[in-house]
């Protein structure tokens, strides 16, 4: 199967900061597929918090998601959902 690719915009105020990066890594780690985010001329492993924080994606950043592996479709769905919901910001 070909790699799944999808572009999304970061919508939450805080962007991909510590809390949302924690949520992303946790969610991404439940899939066996490789998951990568690219933005700002950088491509990082979505299962790596170091990578996600280094990406520094703030609100409005357009980010490409790539998933590849046995559960790539499901992984893509969940990643897009997480970002679109603004990482369930607010508590």
């Amino acid at each position: 199967m070909d790699t799944s690719r999808y572009k999304v915009k970061i919508t939450n105020d805080a962007g991909l900061h510590t809390r949302s990066a924690v949520m992303t890594v946790k969610k991404a780690s439940t899939f066996s597929s490789s998951i990568e985010f690219s933005a700002n001329g950088m491509r990082v492993n979505a299962k790596s918090i170091m990578g996600l924080l280094a990406l520094g994606a703030s609100k409005g950043t357009s980010m490409e998601i790539e998933t590849r592996g046995s559960d790539q479709v499901e992984a893509m769905k969940e990643m897009v959902k997480l970002i679109r919901n603004g990482f369930e910001e607010s508590h």
Binding site: D13, A14, G15, H17, T18, R19, A21, V22, V25, K26, M42, V44, N45, K47, S48, I49, M50, G51, L53, A54, G56, S58, E89, S90, H91
Partner: protein
Amino acid sequence: MRDEGEKVFPATIASFGISLGYLYYIDQKNKFRAETKISFEQVDHEIESFLGAVEHVKNQLDEMRLHIVRQLGENHAYLVEAQRLLLKDPQLIDKVKTIVSVERIDALGAIRRAFQYFYDIFDRNRDPYYRERFSDIRFIQDRLVQFIEGESSKRYTALDEDAIVLARDMSPLELIQFTDSQVNGIVLERGGKTSHLCIMARSLGIPCLLGIEFPKRYSQGTKVILDAKDGLFIVNPEGDTWSYYEKKKCEFSKKEDELLKNRFHLAKTKDGQRVKLLGNLDFLNEITSIKKNGAEGIGLVRTETLFLDLPFPPSEESQLSRYQKIISSVSPDDVVIRLFDVDLKRLNDHHKEENPVLGLRGIRLLIKFESVIRTQIRAILRASYNANVSVLIPMVMSVEEICFVSRVIDSEKQNLKNLHLDFNDSIRLGAMIELPSAAMISNQLAKEVSFFSIGTNDLIQYALAVDRSNASLSNFNHSMHPAILRFIIFVAQEAHRNGIEVGVCGEMANDPMMTPLLLGAEIDFLSMSLGSVPIIKRAISEFTVQESKHCLDKFLSIDDVVEAEQVLKTWHLKHSRVL
């Protein structure tokens, strides 16, 4: 190194108390060993040593998580979450393993190189929020390095009981990891009294001293005494000194217990004059200490420290929920919420200021970034529905700045009305008097607000040109400068002439030595660290208004700061039991 006899170092007190114990250095950052080349046979051993360190630090973090949840609430737990993920980070682990096996560098060197690789990437990110994550990542690096170094040299012992921690500087997170094993006291070579660490030490009741320059490095485990009552740090105390302090410590805690008994009484002078005692609140977890210490409400919510765990500025909803928690914990007592007092750097702005203390901060910044103040005002108005809440404006220096806030409040009330949301229609407005310029025009300012709160920390800094984070300037008590007292007297007179209340917040309110002077200046309320409420209540009860006025008069007639302090001390010893 051989340790000689008893040595006494004077120090600045950041959090009261007395501790006896053993020295424990926590920063060994400058003592890095150089990286070493290894042979092929050693590769597996070094990788194992790295993975062992990861495992060990992971356990440390698990424990830290428990403490954080207990002390700061579930909200802050994600700080540790992020670090746990950092430890498991596939990129990081691969990087270290590769450096060890391909470049044949020992585990310590490989860790340093791998982290440096990520620091470089972070450095390219111009957003200050992400660059500040540095400290979180460095924290992990330090733990790993400490563990491996300790393993290899065997000179590392876990935090023993009665440890008195000594560091050049320390982050609040570093303190949290220690607080369950017995941190008896903290000594910092650097750092100011108003740093987050000191505020936290006070709220956790850990004695803390600042600004000591040590001529040399003492060995780990040296016997020490931390006297954060008289501001002394004693290294290698003799037997007599030790037993004297054991007694003194006992008396101190007995006195503390006794003081807590007065928590249900209101603060009154000997002749019955009421003075309102309020608490300062920096962290949500302090809510439980408000009633315990007998504060009559909250005189200063420092909103900029309340959201340290969130990117700045926090959303309206997260502000609303925290303000509601605070307000409901003391309602119907008063709560004074100060608008964000931050500098430009804290906002996501790439502008760097040469001198942020004299730069765009406090209300000046909020005027420039109007959406920040609008969000905050909305959250405060909504949270204070049916409660007695005031908004306090930081760094005021003109009438126009107050009028700006009034206009924002009015228009946000209208917005909330249109949205059919509940809000406080009768919120009060107060001004911080912390600039000499504001003090001089307090007559005009008084016509626009319901109360003044004199912020003595900044007032001292701006009036005396003393940088409060500069430890080399902290060798005498600047609040004793007669100019500061004259400012306070003047502002109090102008407030009363206009029929509004005046209070003092900041370190001066915490200091029982200063209490009669503030009483003499006819201050209506004092807002202080929660832990200081009982002792200040006692101090107030020891004087009549007339006596306090005499004390103030006498004090003002002295020109020399050091002499003034002496005179005040003598006067106290004659009249009161608080010192």
